[in-house]
Structures are given as structure tokens and as C-alpha cells.
């Protein structure tokens, strides 16, 4: 028989411990699920080909080598020709992937394009979002739906016509073509985020600013812009990540080495059977670092920026 004073306490303590246990277990599982594959990617990139092709696989590199990364970073100076091609990893017969020296320029391309898209995105979206969210003009609904409707058609459908447009404008193989394309791809979503956020700002502030003498542009600048930081950060992040990530359009619109972006070059490696596994993994690590770092750094803003609309359903 439990003492009358004891009933509740035991159960409560048990519940607390049980909850703690469950949370720890699930958290651990989540961490493994999320970080595991990436950890494996990193680990593979730090192994030599010989280690990597061992069976059973080595979880941790038995000997950490930066050889793959060296190959990437130093290859810019060395041209891969028939004579020099055998200077890679011994395990693969020392073949260097013939596109190895393209990785760094491609990295640079991806980076520049991403930056431009992120910046232009904010400029273009903010004005449109303000107009749609704040100015109650006729055709406001129609404008919004039209903008969102451009994303209904799958990208693949748009590639060929887009290529023709770019060719007619003599913009094939330019970063400009990519920037403009990615703008069109990302703007609908950023506008949506910004509109949701703007609608949360009290309307009286807008009325006060207008009464104080603000034109629309001034109201945007003095009232809405300062109060929308999280949404702006979320938009910039989203724009940069999307264009860093983007594959199909880049595949078609950039056909020469000089203008290709990172995903294209990496996919080239994967297709090239002479590429060593560890090298491909190293390339993958390089591609993954910038977006992940950015996402982690701005996590708080991303979440609160995205949530303004989502909370309302």
C-alpha cells in the first residue's frame, strides 16, 4: 500500500524521467538522421581512394588526408592534358578528373550569381510586396495570383523557350542570363513571404506615416523596411540557396566551361567514371559548405521570417 501522501509524487517523478528519456532518445535519433549522411560525406572526402574502397567501409578516416582538396585547389594552375592526367590519386590509377580545374571557377560563378540574385531579389520583391500588401489598388488580387501562377508550370517545360529567348538576346553562357532566370524563379516566393510579413504590421503605423507626409516610397522606407528584417533575411537566404542549388536551367543556359556553375561541374564528375569517389565527395563538401554555414548562421531569422504567413495557415 502506498502512503496517502506519496501517490502523486512517484507518478510525477516517473513521468518526468520518462519524458526526459523519450526526448533524449528522439533527439539523438534526429541528430543521427540529419547529420549522419553529411558526416559520412565529409569523412569520405578526407580519405584516400584506397581507404575509401575498403570493405567494410571505414567510418572515420584511418588517415586524414587533404589530398582531394589539394587536387581541387591546386588544379587551377595545372592544366589536365594527356601528359599530366596521371597525377591524381594512386588508388584510381592516378587519374585526375578532366574537369577538376573547373571546380574553383564554377564555385566563383555560383557564388557571384547567387549574390546578385539575392540582392536583386530583395530590391524587386520589396516594392511589389509593398504595393500588393499595403496599397489597396484594383487588380491587387490579380497581380498576386499572376505572380504566383508563374511557378505552376514545371521548370523543364520552360527550358527550351527560355534557351531560345536567351539565344536571341545573345545571352547564352552569361551569368546575366542565369541571374535573370533565377530572379523569375525565386521572386514569387519571396514576394509571398514579404507580403505575409507586411500584413502583420499595424495599419495605423502606415496611416501615421502617410499623415506625417510620407509618399508611398517613403512609407515603405521608414515603416515597413525597418520592421521586416526577419522576412528580408529569409528572402535573401532563400534566393541565394535556390540559385546555388539550381541545376536544370544552368545545365541548358550555360554550355561552356567558363560560365558553368557548381552543380553542373559536380554532376559532370559523378558521370565521369574515372573520377575517384573521394574526389567527388570532396567536391560535394565544397558545394555544401556555403549554404549550410549561411543557413545555420541565420536560422532564427529564417524561421521567424517564414512564419508570419504560416501561422495564419
Amino acid at each position: 500500500m502506498r502512503a496517502a501522501t506519496d501517490d502523486g509524487r512517484r507518478a510525477m517523478i516517473a513521468k518526468r524521467w520518462g519524458r526526459g528519456l523519450l526526448i533524449s532518445a528522439f533527439s539523438a535519433l534526429l541528430v543521427i538522421y540529419v547529420a549522419g549522411p553529411v558526416a559520412w560525406l565529409v569523412s569520405s572526402s578526407l580519405q584516400s581512394e584506397a581507404d575509401i574502397t575498403a570493405v567494410p567501409p571505414n567510418w572515420l578516416p584511418p588517415k586524414v588526408t587533404f589530398g582531394n582538396f589539394e587536387a581541387i585547389f591546386s588544379n587551377t594552375t595545372r592544366e589536365v592534358t594527356y601528359e599530366t592526367r596521371r597525377q591524381g590519386d594512386p588508388a584510381t590509377g592516378r587519374f585526375l578528373p578532366s574537369g577538376a580545374e573547373n571546380l574553383l571557377p564554377a564555385l566563383w560563378n555560383s557564388f557571384t550569381v547567387g549574390l546578385w540574385v539575392a540582392i536583386l531579389n530583395v530590391v524587386v520583391s520589396i516594392t511589389a510586396a509593398y504595393a500588393i500588401a499595403v496599397i489597396h489598388f484594383k487588380g491587387r488580387q490579380a497581380a498576386l495570383y499572376t505572380i504566383l501562377a508563374t511557378r505552376v508550370i514545371p521548370d523543364i517545360a520552360l527550358i527550351v523557350p527560355l534557351f531560345l529567348v536567351m539565344r536571341n538576346l545573345d545571352l547564352v553562357n552569361t551569368r546575366f542570363a542565369l541571374v535573370v532566370t533565377y530572379l523569375a524563379v525565386t521572386v514569387p516566393f519571396t514576394i509571398f513571404i514579404l507580403i505575409s510579413y507586411f500584413e502583420q504590421i499595424p495599419r495605423d503605423l502606415y496611416r501615421a506615416a502617410r499623415a506625417d507626409g510620407c509618399s508611398h516610397v517613403q512609407a515603405l522606407r521608414h515603416v515597413y523596411l525597418p520592421l521586416s528584417l526577419p522576412a528580408l533575411v529569409a528572402s535573401v537566404m532563400f534566393a541565394f540557396l535556390t540559385s546555388w542549388n539550381e541545376f536544370i536551367f544552368a545545365l541548358i543556359l550555360t554550355q561552356n566551361i567558363a560560365s558553368q556553375t557548381l552543380p553542373i561541374v559536380i554532376s559532370g564528375f559523378v558521370m565521369d567514371f574515372t573520377t575517384s569517389f573521394s574526389f567527388v565527395n570532396a567536391a560535394g563538401v565544397i558545394a555544401i559548405v556555403p549554404p549550410v554555414v549561411l543557413a545555420m548562421m541565420f536560422e532564427r531569422y529564417i524561421v521567424s521570417g517564414l512564419t508570419a504567413g504560416a501561422v495564419k495557415g
Binding site: 570493405v55 514545371p154 523543364i156 521572386v187 543557413a295 545555420m296 495557415g313
Partner: protein
């Protein structure tokens, strides 16, 4: 008369027009024109191997598509893939959101960590999982053999029965975090008072979940389902990197078919028509979801 026009195009209207103009300018060129042109293309029988002859066939391309058994295979593959991806993503996201809704030390860190898959480029995602699935040296085989669950190495991506699910797994890994965040946000807006009332009424954890959490999540769930479906139905990058539609036609989805018809068979008309069928399917599905859940996103 001029007066009426003045009312229509007052200061507000003019400002709005100016502010919205940049967006429309960009979209006109890069989105609207290709969309229209693409639809136009779908009405012609265009094969690039004989560019001189391009007869107008109206909806003939569409008819050919629906009569093509390959198309229906693609539909089946896409359906299986999408259903698996969306359902598992949503369920996992729900659990993760429930976990993150609780307060515990390190939650902040965990929330930041789960963005990792979201930030991973899809090419790297494909490459990473392809390496994990590698028949010779992959991690999956290694683990399973060490655990004693299998005896010899399996060719994961090469097994037609498994292919779609292996690809789906990669997609789920990447998409789940965002879905979890969207659901988490919806959860946070549920008033604490509802939970308190339920507890007082005698509800246990499961009942509270069933009667308080789930109903309030309806709009959030709908948003997640619609978004995930739209994305999964048109997945392409993973298929290009991992299986290229194979083995055989095990992973021959609609997106892949569009790619093959357009860029390998060079049948631009058919490719365009297929795209529109896919777009229409997406649209209809989204509409059904929204109607089914009865609220606006």
C-alpha cells in the same frame, strides 16, 4: 469622363503600378513568355530531327501522350514516388515538430541543426546518397552487413523494386526539415489554454494530441501537403544524378519522360505537351487538397 478616369488612376494606382512594374518586367520575359511559347509548342508536331516540317496538330500531341503506354508507366511511377515521399515526409515532420515543440536544453541547437538537409544542394544530396547506396563500397551495405541483417552487398539503386524508394529516401531527407518547421510554427500558435482545459477534462497525452493539436494543425498540414506534392511531382535533379530513369523504367517518372522526349528524342512538341499535363495534374491536386481541408493557405 476624364473625371472618372482620374478616379481610376489616382495616386495610389499610379504608385502601385510603378512599384509592381519591375517584377512584371522580369516575369514577362523570363516566365510568361516561355510559358506561353511552351504551350504554343505543344500544339505542334515538332521533332528536331526534321526541323523543316512542323505541322499544327492542335491537341494531337496530347492524344498521343494519353495513348502511349510509356506515359501511363510514368504516371504510375510518379504517383508511387509522390505518395511515398509526401506521406513519409509529412509524418516524420509531424513527429519532429512535436519534439521541437517541447522545451528542453539544446533545443535551439537542434532546431539549427535540422536545417542541414534543407541547405544541401539537391545535386550533392543525390551524390551523397548514391555514394551511401554504392553497391561496392557504400555505407548502407557496410552497416547492414555488420549488423548481420544481410549477408552480401545489395545493389540498391539497381534493383527495380527498390529504386523509387531509395530515391524517395533521399528526397525525404532533404524536405522533411522545412515541413517540420512549418508545422512547428502552426503548433506554436495553439493557445496553451486549450491544453489546460483538455488536461482538466482528463485527457492524456495521446488524447490531447488527437483533439487539440491535430485539429488546429489543419491549415499547416494542408500547406505542407500541397507544397510537398508540388515539389515531389516534379523532382528531376535526383533522378538525373542517381538513376537516369532506370534500371529499365523503374524510375521513369513524368519529369524524366519530359526530359527524355525533349532532349534525347528531340520531340519538342510532345515534351511541351507532357509538361502541361504535369502542370495540370499539380494544379488539380493542389485544388483538391485545399478544398479537402476547407481553408485558404
Amino acid at each position: 469622363m476624364l473625371e472618372r478616369l482620374g478616379r481610376q488612376f489616382g495616386y495610389d494606382e499610379r504608385s502601385a503600378a510603378l512599384l509592381v512594374f519591375p517584377v512584371f518586367a522580369v516575369l514577362m520575359v523570363v516566365a510568361v513568355y516561355p510559358i506561353v511559347y511552351s504551350f504554343y509548342t505543344s500544339l505542334f508536331d515538332i521533332v528536331l530531327t526534321r526541323p523543316w516540317r512542323r505541322p499544327f496538330v492542335g491537341f494531337g500531341n496530347y492524344a498521343r501522350i494519353f495513348a502511349d503506354p510509356q506515359f501511363w508507366t510514368a504516371v504510375q511511377r510518379t504517383t508511387v514516388y509522390t505518395v511515398v515521399t509526401v506521406s513519409i515526409t509529412t509524418v516524420m515532420a509531424l513527429f519532429v515538430a512535436l519534439l521541437l515543440n517541447e522545451a528542453f536544453p539544446g533545443r535551439r541547437l537542434l532546431s539549427a541543426l535540422i536545417l542541414l538537409p534543407w541547405a544541401t544542394p539537391s545535386i550533392v544530396n543525390g551524390l551523397m546518397w548514391k555514394w551511401i547506396y554504392d553497391p561496392g563500397y557504400g555505407l548502407l551495405n557496410g552497416i547492414l552487413v555488420q549488423l548481420g541483417w544481410i549477408e552480401k552487398y545489395i545493389v540498391w539503386l539497381g534493383d527495380p523494386d527498390k529504386t523509387l524508394f531509395m530515391i524517395a529516401n533521399a528526397a525525404i531527407w532533404k524536405q522533411m526539415p522545412l515541413a517540420a518547421i512549418l508545422l512547428l510554427v502552426s503548433m506554436k500558435s495553439i493557445s496553451n489554454d486549450l491544453y489546460r482545459a483538455a488536461t482538466v477534462d482528463g485527457a492524456n497525452v495521446f488524447q490531447r494530441f488527437l483533439h487539440v493539436t491535430l485539429p488546429a494543425l489543419k491549415p499547416g498540414l494542408m500547406l505542407v501537403l500541397v507544397y510537398e506534392t508540388m515539389i515531389s511531382i516534379r523532382h528531376f535533379d535526383l533522378f538525373l544524378i542517381m538513376t537516369q530513369g532506370g534500371p529499365g523504367d523503374a524510375s521513369y517518372t513524368l519529369s524524366w519522360q519530359i526530359y527524355v522526349e525533349t532532349f534525347r528524342n528531340l520531340k519538342f512538341g510532345i515534351g511541351a505537351a507532357l509538361s502541361y499535363v504535369l502542370a495540370l495534374a499539380t494544379f488539380i491536386l493542389s485544388y483538391l487538397f485545399i478544398r479537402g481541408f476547407g481553408s485558404k493557405a
